[in-house]
Amino acid sequence: MSFFEPLPPVRPPTDYRAPAWARGPEDMVPGVVPVALLVARTATHAVLIDGLLVYPTGFDFDLAVRRRPSHPRQPHHRGHRWDDRLRLGVRFADGRRADNHPRHWPHPIDDQPPDPPLLYQSTSGPDGGHVWLWGLPPPGPLTFACEWPTQQIPPSQAELDAGLVLAAAQRAQTLWPDQRPP
């Protein structure tokens, strides 16, 4: 008989569900905003909002950092301090705003969903990251702003017509309109 008892197989918990504020509804396919937005451009870098995919509760997008190909690339240093990262903010036409600083993220065990808008950046690195915005904007200009001091990207912003986001939300498709499971 082995000294070490066999362990049960490792399996993630099956009943975990990501909170509603952290992503789009899991039973929907999103609508697409048909534009990409250039938010910042310097002689060496650009920041792009791309892949805007919209649900009735919010939208996903890529925060893409592009480096000018003909420009020498700095040796890569992994930034561990928040100050080294690309700051992103979103402002609605009614003045409400959100940014990607982790101090604004809700505690995972909070029962109550946070007030929208909330910006949750799930991945972050030298090439940008992936972002979920909880909450839809009202009609009017939707402003994206960014700043990255260590990469010499000054405060920059660009506007998108929120109507494009709201129209895409209308086109999100419910996969199983009959909500009873099989």
Binding site: V29, G31, V32, V33, A36, L38, G51, P72
Partner: protein, 199 residues
């Protein structure tokens, strides 16, 4: 003779470009095709595809993997950790558990995740089209998003998106769009630095 060591030199700045078959060109804003497709749907799960981002060298899009309810005992997280295989050899005994994804061009050429190459940055350029799964993200078993990069633009005619997952009761399923939409969007891709000659 001096006993001192030479000073440590700073790392040189390098110009490094990943090859065109791995990712979109860095100096273009893509043209978007607002497709919102459901490639396959069973009572338990669905696979959607949205948001084609087109460039002169190829296009990206996002796959949406959806499970309606958690199925007790089922191990798969859509195989997303292993290019849709969860460690399954697509040529082996459990091949039916490998989720297949591909694109088909009107001239018969195709690219699938079965011929995914590991040495992304090495070797000669592959013949287009190729298909790479470049980002996958999910927090539980119900929903995963997977970004795809297809190197190479389709010729005019139908452009097919195809999935198959035998073990999960998804037969070969295909949705076609007009490749002209992708070609027109690729032509709309705009230079970020217009003063720079493109290579």
């Amino acid at each position: 003779m001096s006993a001192s060591e030479p000073p440590e030199l700073p790392e040189p700045e390098v110009e490094y470009r990943r090859p065109a078959w791995v990712e979109p060109p860095a100096d273009l804003v893509p043209g978007i095709v607002p497709v919102e497709l459901i490639l396959a749907r069973t009572p338990e799960r669905a696979i959607g595809l949205t948001g084609i981002r087109a460039y002169p060298t190829g296009f990206g899009c996002t796959l949406h993997m959806r499970l309606r309810e958690v199925i007790p005992g089922e191990q798969s997280n859509f195989g997303a950790f292993n290019m849709f295989g969860d460690g399954v050899d697509p040529a082996g005994e459990f091949a039916d558990y490998f989720l297949r994804v591909g694109v088909g061009f009107a001239d018969g050429r195709k690219a699938t995740n079965l011929d995914h190459r590991r040495d992304l940055d090495e070797g000669p350029a592959p013949d287009p089209p190729t298909l790479w799964l470049v980002r996958w993200e999910g927090y539980d078993r119900l929903a995963w998003e997977v970004d795809v990069w297809v190197y190479g633009l389709p010729p005019p005619g139908p452009l097919a998106f195809v999935v198959e997952w035998p073990a999960r009761h998804i037969p070969e399923s295909r949705v076609e769009i007009d490749a002209g939409l992708v070609l027109a969007a690729a032509a709309r891709a705009a230079p970020i630095w217009p003063d720079q000659p493109r290579r």
